[in-house]
């Protein structure tokens, strides 16, 4: 479970102070699928980064499974992210020197899982996303849709508590986007907690709830059931 209390994020640009998040209170329960929408600059990505511990809020609290992350050191956050979270980025964020299999195995290797087991699990994860024929391909030799599926495989291979997705279909064509959203649906059915940013209303509706952010505050929370 993730809870934010009075979450504030301010950016300084020289003398100018911009308040991007203006005290957000929010709660995500286990197994929920949340989509976050809002116009550009509304603060949705910033909100996601605070919840996923990729950034630190200016004030307020992010409580993850009862733990106030405000007191955590940077060195503690890295293994926390490794074991608890999975990330899917808009531009896939695959490491260009690693094959699909190596990209997916990396978080497992970092968890000190023996190589043979790590690779077996990575292969299983990729096969589940119908990429068994692309295991040894480098990202540069794969299509955008394939790369995003590798990215999802990497994000879920270690069974994270929460999967964060930052506009996962933004760079994809309609067909690939449909495939990705189906994968998210399936993951959610398996009980995966997902928090996803999207610009597309049709994809936002795949989630259980849609949160709309504007000007640094949550303006609506809609149930999609």
């Amino acid at each position: 479970m993730i809870e934010t209390k009075q979450l504030v994020k301010t950016f300084l640009d020289g003398e100018t102070e911009t308040k991007v998040l203006k005290g957000i209170d929010f709660k995500v329960e286990d197994g929920e699928f949340i989509s976050i929408m809002g116009r550009s600059g509304a603060g949705k990505s910033t909100f996601l980064y605070q919840m996923s511990l990729l950034d630190e809020p200016t004030s307020g609290e992010v409580i993850i499974y009862g733990r106030d992350t405000h007191t955590m050191k940077v060195e503690e956050k890295i293994p926390f992210r490794l074991t608890m979270f999975g990330y899917v980025f808009q531009d896939y964020a695959l490491l260009p020197d690693l094959t699909a299999l190596e990209n997916v195995a990396l978080p497992l290797l970092m968890q000190n899982i023996p190589s043979d087991k790590a690779y077996a699990r990575a292969e299983e994860s990729l096969t589940k996303l119908e990429l068994q024929h692309r295991l040894h391909k480098l990202p540069s030799h794969m299509s955008g849709g394939e790369q995003q599926r590798v990215s999802i495989a990497r994000a879920v291979v270690h069974h994270p508590k929460v999967l964060f997705a930052d506009e996962p279909t933004a760079n994809l064509d309609n067909e690939s986007s449909q495939v990705i959203m189906q994968i998210f649906r399936d993951l959610h059915k398996e009980g995966q907690t997902i928090i996803m940013i999207t610009h597309e209303e049709q994809y936002a509706k795949v989630a259980q709830k849609t949160v709309v952010i504007d000007d640094g505050t949550i303006v609506s929370v809609t149930s999609n059931n």
Binding site: F80, L82, T83, A93, P96, D97, P107, L109, N112
Partner: protein
Amino acid sequence: MLSRLALNVRIGFFLATRQIRRASLWTTGLIIFVMVLTFLNLVVVSGILVGLIQGAVNQVRFEFTSDIIVSAPDDKKYIENSPNLIALLKSFPEIETLSARYSSGAELEANYKTRKETDKPNTANAQIFGIDPQSEDRVTHLSSSVTEGSYLAPGDYDQVIIGQFLLSQYVPVEDPNYAALNNVSVGSKIRVTLGDVTREVTVKGIIKSKVDALTRNVFMVDSQFRSMIGRNDGNVAQIAILLKEGADPIAVREKIKRSGADKYAKIQTFEDAQPQFLKDVIKTFNMLGTAFGSIGLVVASITIFIVVFINAITRRKYIGIMKGIGIDGGAIRLSYVFQSIFYALFGSLIGLALVYGFLVPFIAGHPIDFPFSDGILVAPFGGTSLRVGLLVLSTIIAGYIPAWMIIRKNTLDSILGRN
């Protein structure tokens, strides 16, 4: 803590091998080429500088002192009890063979038959050695230095071989303070005066070498030398000793000393017998080589720093992603350190192969022709290993610092490409 380090090493190595394997072949080749050049700069520059002097040292050893030289004390003209000492030395199992030399200062005169009374006599001073030609040749290969005429035979009475720099036609620069004989070549008659005894001898051969002790001296057979000095006690001025293969000159020197011979003779290895200035020059050249090498080391470090910095800064986004998905910064830093080690080790390995597989044997076979020595490439394995270690160490530091600079930046800023 230790398991964390081990894990970081494992992941760092994993990332480094993938980056190297999939990097541009040209870029990798260029970095390794720079490393090879740096290694050669470290090893070859100092090796040639030292080899220039070492070549001279080797030549003196090979052509004059041999492995050990026993000589008369500074205040004596000869080694007392020489026959007993020679007999003792011949009983040492480490000694292959030896050559006993008589020696004395002598005056040489040429063109005395054609000289008018008003002319200045054509004389030169030299050290004259009385040798057993066969023994001397076995120890110092003197015959190979006789390039004009021929070498002495045991019965060559009234014949000498003479060093090239005692003959004016071979003296490169005319020096009014240095007298040499004019119009003397193979077959010429010259006078040799040893003390009160003067004898007319024929020049049988001319010695050409880069060893001063040969080129400024005269050699005749020992029986004639003895007759000229009027002494038949068998006491010689020098004994050059050639050791058997593998025998240690220092150990043999000490053994000779323990026999009591050092009471009436100076016992020196070929290294002891080097003049102090030569030892100082070797030290100075070593320092110069180290200085040049250090500059090379700095250049290599800067190269690696730039390479890793550019590599890390262009991959900043991916470094951010790795940190974002939970890869430890230590593992990422180590991946760059491993890459630096790879470049340095690979460059050094190629350098080692070049040095020991090609340069050392080639230069040994084709020495560099310096005016005073046949320069060789001195690259002792211990010193070379130390230089490889230094190169690797400096590249580790040069690789770590830029990686640390980039990796410590904020994770999200790195992912988003923000400054």
